[in-house]
Symmetry: C2
Subunit: 217 residues, 2 copies
């Protein structure tokens, strides 16, 4: 028997279908995955509960990291700011300044602590509502930065970067992602609102993939 070292990965899990797909992809690639879930004061708390359920369904360990931002300014953190409907121009109200930078920084700390060789994240450049921290240039610059600033030799992997929503859904379907456990809506309701950016892209994705979203009754 060959003595193979187990490949370890830290997977950022949001509860949405993108990160769930990435988790199942990392598992399929043979990684021992540790999920990192953020409780950052998002109004859509349901995301966190669903993220835990997805991690359990995948048979993976998870850590929840609580962050209390002492400043507001995003519709995802502040009930007073309206969640925009469909696509808007300019800086989206749902933009949380430097959110992915912060999330990846904690993932880097976790990866360095446990000796993981990869960090997986479900970001993608196309349907991303215009966030600058979802662009290829950003992930490439982040990888260089952690190389310079840590003892760890890990890399940042964003396998969905050039995929659109329907491609992600088809990939997730092949990998056996439990889509019924995923949550995309920016609003904190019991059922998806079907009107925010995130619901819009999810519905479009399922339609283009010619699949039925089990979440929508």
């Amino acid at each position: 028997m060959k003595n193979r070292r187990v490949k370890q990965a830290v997977v950022l899990l949001s509860g949405g279908l993108d990160s769930a797909t990435v988790l199942y992809l990392a598992k399929a690639k043979g990684y021992l995955c540790r999920c990192l879930i953020f409780d950052y004061g998002q109004i859509h708390k349901k995301e966190i509960r669903q993220a835990k359920r997805i991690a359990k369904a995948a048979g993976c360990a998870y850590k929840i990291l609580k962050i209390k931002f002492p400043w507001k300014g995003s519709a995802l953190l502040d009930r007073k700011i309206k969640i925009p409907e469909k696509i808007n121009r300019g800086i989206p109200a749902t933009y949380v300044p430097s959110r992915n930078i912060i999330f990846l920084s904690f993932a880097a700390s976790f990866a360095e602590t446990v000796g993981a060789e990869s960090i997986f994240m479900g970001a993608h450049a196309q349907d991303y509502s215009g966030y600058p921290d979802c662009r290829r240039e950003f992930f490439s610059a982040f990888s260089k930065m952690v190389k310079a600033g840590t003892y760890g030799g890990f890399s940042i992997r964003v396998p969905l970067l050039y995929k659109n929503k329907s491609q992600i859904i088809l990939m997730g379907k092949r990998l056996g992602v439990p889509f019924e456990l995923t949550w995309s809506c920016y609003r904190g309701g019991k059922a998806p609102c079907t009107r925010c950016d995130s619901c819009y892209y999810r519905a479009k994705g399922f339609k283009e993939a010619r699949l039925v979203d089990a979440l929508i009754k």
Copy 2:
């Protein structure tokens, strides 16, 4: 009268003498400073109290950001790990993986939210116990990363990077830094332990600057 826009800065304040000096330097350069203090589970809690006192002495607003790391592995976070005495080789036990990456990421979020143009940090490359996130290459890579990943046009400033402790102490002296409010010791005692890395460098710095450290009785 000229209509001058007020320059704003976010200053990372630890309670130590380096970051206090940087705060006073930024003030002297005409910045309206907002301090960011981290409560990250450090055993030397006194640091936080002193950081607040320094911010107040400088007449600057501050925010405290609480982070609960769900993983341990550093002597600064875990009482079970021994704080090393004097200089050691290899990865220091006081190293908190990706700490500066995380701190700067939050500073980036804060700077972006308030529209600050600069982030000041008191890191320096010489007496840094060997942390990789205190090197010039790291700060340069971090600056490029935030440029790619945010809407903000701010820059990361590390004015002490090439200074040694005695130069910093002399600079602080000129700027009127209340050194008696600063705290450097890694241990959580009432008085500095005088034996950890941080105490060692502080004592060496004051000696070389031919000044008396008011903190040492």
